[in-house]
Amino acid sequence: MSSITHPNPYASWESRGFWEGAGRDQLVLQKCTTCGLVQHRPRGVCAHCLDSRGLEHFVASGRGLIYSYTVTEQNQAKGFVEACPYIMAYVTLDEGPRLLTVIVDCEPDAVSIGMPVAAGFASQERDDDELFAIPVFRLS
């Protein structure tokens, strides 16, 4: 999918809905039914109500617009050092929140701010039974 070897995500009970959803090819966000807040990153509570009772997960559209990006030419971290240059970006999702991601399957020069993108899911090689994946984005 991408030449990046994504590090396995750290999933706590607060965040595993996101990574498990990605394992089902779904972009999963949290919404508070009490106040209506849609939040990313996920938390154990609604950040505004400071309460978990109204918090639900839902499947988002997976569509959004590039808010900003950079072509990373140097990153010494494992999984990325040989993948440079790669495109790291903030995407503003149709549902509101912005998330950090990578834009894959496109030339660095083909990207610009404001372009529409859609989520894809990079599967993970793991030595346990978790079916996590990493949401990545492509120009759409």
Partner: protein
């Protein structure tokens, strides 16, 4: 409880910048101890006078300030190991002032030391570290780097306002000109805008010379009451205003271009009761060229999007409309990972009028703004307004 005014009843009585930029034979605490001696000597005080200890470094975690007290064999009445990144020491001065004003201590020592360069630490391009940290759980899988986050800020600024790489390069060129006047600066050979643009791309649009250097180093600041400082060896520098703030991703909806400097400087400037035109020079955290541009806009020296013009044509050079970082900054003088203490030290030296070739003429009021963490991701901001004692 003191009845004197806050924060003007508090002053900086001594400062010291470690002269070394590469200290492979020293430890972090050793550098801090040498700086402590330097700043106390500068103030004309001794270790027995210190009853407040403040410090932070890249390796000091929980209990770090206690470890430091033990290393120095000090038993102060007041401890503060606040670590909010590179701005920590700017905040420490504020915290020390509050503690002194409240009568909790009378003479505070603020310390920093680092061996980042001799440890060959990849600060900007080392990635976010292990992904088994809840804090980086959503950035490590995507290859976030410090420079990458600043690069996304820069790209957004360029896209929205037409800011150019040439304008960012002007910042690096000016810092290098200043470093040429500072005998302690690590990088002193002049550079041109073309040199910056032709240097290796690290994370578009930021080139190698848009990034700060990595050095070893350290520093110390002595904070006490203005009343006491007036009787000491060195001319006191008065605290006129202070403020702190934080900016982050929120729930995924924050405006990336608005940084903590906006909030913390509003607090500090209001407290000081001054206008931008009253300020003679600025000490600004310059981890990257874009950091300077973003900070100057958010401090209100120019409007959003006007930073590119503001920094061009010598605007932030000595003799320009607002001299910035006459010591050469982190881009050329020193950057051991958490540069905030040098903002305070240089501001104080300038206000005392002892900076020789790089002296800002008639410097009476300075603003110092430290950024800690990462602009474009999450960061702290701490602002001080300082005044020469007249």
């Amino acid at each position: 409880m003191s009845t004197a005014e806050f924060p003007t009843s508090v002053a900086i009585a001594g400062v010291y910048e470690h002269p070394s930029r590469f200290s492979p034979n020293k430890t972090e605490f050793q550098i801090m101890a040498e700086c402590a001696k330097g700043a106390l000597d500068d103030a004309g005080l001794t270790r027995e006078d210190v009853d407040g200890l403040f410090g932070a470094s890249m390796s000091m975690g929980m209990m770090g300030i206690v470890d430091l007290a033990e290393y120095l064999d000090m038993r102060p009445d007041y401890l503060d190991g606040t670590n909010i990144g590179g701005s920590s020491f700017v905040a420490h001065v504020t915290h020390a002032a509050a503690a002194i004003h409240a009568g909790l201590c009378s003479t505070a020592l603020v310390l920093y030391g680092s061996t980042a360069a001799s440890n060959a630490m990849a600060i900007g391009t080392g990635g976010t570290g292990g992904s088994n940290n809840p804090d980086t759980a959503f950035s490590a899988p995507y290859g976030m780097t410090t420079v990458g986050s600043y690069a996304m800020y820069a790209n957004l600024h360029m896209n929205k306002y037409g800011t150019s790489s040439e304008q960012l390069a002007e910042i690096a060129v000016t810092m290098r000109q200043h470093a040429g006047l500072n005998p302690l600066a690590k990088m002193r050979a002049p550079i041109t805008v073309d040199d910056v643009l032709e240097s290796r791309m690290i994370s578009r649009p930021l080139h190698l010379l848009d990034c700060c250097i990595i050095s070893d180093g350290g520093g110390a600041v002595v904070v006490t009451s203005l009343e006491r400082a007036k009787d000491l060896k060195t001319k006191p520098v008065q605290l006129l205003g202070c403020g702190e703030a934080v900016q982050h991703q929120g729930v995924g909806d924050s405006d990336l271009l608005t940084i903590a400097a906006k909030q913390s400087s509003l607090t500090a400037m209001k407290m000081a009761g001054i206008k931008h035109s009253d300020i003679d020079f600025a000490m600004v955290y310059d981890s990257f060229t874009i950091t300077v541009l973003a900070t100057l806009e958010n401090l209100g020296f120019c409007g959003p999007g006007e930073g590119g013009d503001f920094v061009s044509n010598g605007g932030i050079g000595l003799g320009g409309q607002l001299p910035v970082n006459p010591d050469g900054g982190g881009l050329s003088s020193n950057h051991p990972g958490m540069r905030g203490i040098f903002l305070v030290i240089e501001a104080v030296k300038q206000l005392r009028g002892e900076c020789g070739d790089r002296q800002v003429a008639g410097a009476e009021i300075a603003i110092a703004h430290g950024t800690g963490g990462t602009i474009g991701d999450k960061h702290s901001g701490a602002t001080l307004v300082l005044g020469a004692d007249r």
